[in-house]
């Protein structure tokens, strides 16, 4: 029975057998972090501070990421180890509940952080939360990915302990009274940057290992 359960889990693990999902999310995080840093470093009124620029940027980024993901699947994965189409989940509630809990924890930590005058810690909670999701989703079937999950958790904790004046300095000029918000924004960008880099690194290694261990299949009768 244990082997049957294992077989039932295999297709879900297959989705990231080539590291494509990690690359997709990694570049997505880096893309959002880049947009955020551009808003921080550019002067007020710059094109990067306009809402429509941000929306166009996000739309383009998602299109490029989707095409890249599909290209890996169509040109590398399917010809080597086969094609899989996943079922639409008939149980949306578990995911909805997880998202509601995540939102409640996020809002709660921001309020608690504001109460104590420290908003870098709530940002780090996002990093820790993502490290747990990563460990649950990707590190369970592949042992070396526990190191990536650990690095994500440790870097998030390190961001929480950054001196407030250093974080504020990275935020550039901000209106008086908004220092908490500035600190939170910069800490979030740091979390996105670090998690994005780690995901791209992990995805690239997974893809390289996949290419080393698989060959395109011979085309003859089935």
């Amino acid at each position: 029975m244990h082997n049957v359960q294992e077989m039932l889990r295999r297709p879900a693990e297959y989705e990231n057998v080539d590291g494509a999902v990690e690359l997709l999310f990694g570049f997505g995080y880096l893309g959002f972090a880049l947009a955020g840093w551009l808003q921080v470093v550019t002067p007020a009124g710059s094109i990067w501070q306009k809402t429509y620029t941000f929306l166009i940027y996000v739309g383009l980024m998602q299109a490029i990421l989707y095409c890249g993901y599909k290209a890996i699947k169509n040109h590398i994965t399917y010809p080597r180890t086969g094609f899989v189409e996943y079922r639409n989940s008939k149980k949306p509630w578990p995911m909805a509940i997880v998202m509601l809990i995540a939102a409640a924890v996020s809002v709660g930590t921001v309020f608690v952080g504001r109460w104590f005058g420290n908003l870098t810690s709530p940002a780090a909670v996002f990093g820790l939360f993502y490290a747990v999701i990563y460990a649950h989703g990707y590190a369970r079937p592949v042992r070396w990915k526990w190191a990536v999950a650990g690095a994500m958790a440790l870097s998030s904790i390190a961001i929480a302990f950054l001196p407030a004046n250093r974080v504020e300095a990275l935020a550039g000029p901000f209106k008086p009274g908004q220092e908490y918000l500035a600190r939170f924004g910069v800490a979030m960008l740091l979390v996105f940057t670090v998690c994005g880099l780690l995901l791209v690194f992990s995805g690239a290694i997974s893809l390289w290992l996949y290419l080393c261990h698989t060959q395109p299949a011979e085309q003859d009768g089935e």
Binding site: A12, G82, F83, R87, Q219, E222
Partner: protein, 98 residues
Amino acid sequence: MNPHIRTIAELDRVIHEPGRLMITALLFAVDRADFLYLQHETGMNKGNLSSHLSRLEEAGYVEIVKTYRGKVPQTLLRLTAPGRQAFEQYRRKVKAAL
């Protein structure tokens, strides 16, 4: 007859064979997959996999569609509704028997 022993005797023989059990378990978790994926995951050779798939198709548990991915022939496989039902029933019976 002891009810537990009767449960074992009532197991679906089409699914119970280890090769076919692997195939149905893999197809149960997805909407559809191709022949290459099943071959890669089960480690069976083409002849063996084909014969198991034919048996499952005969029982009405698997739907086989021959198509092309670009210029490359592709065999797509899907578990039918009776196939899903039979696999769920099989799991229930095995759990009960164990």
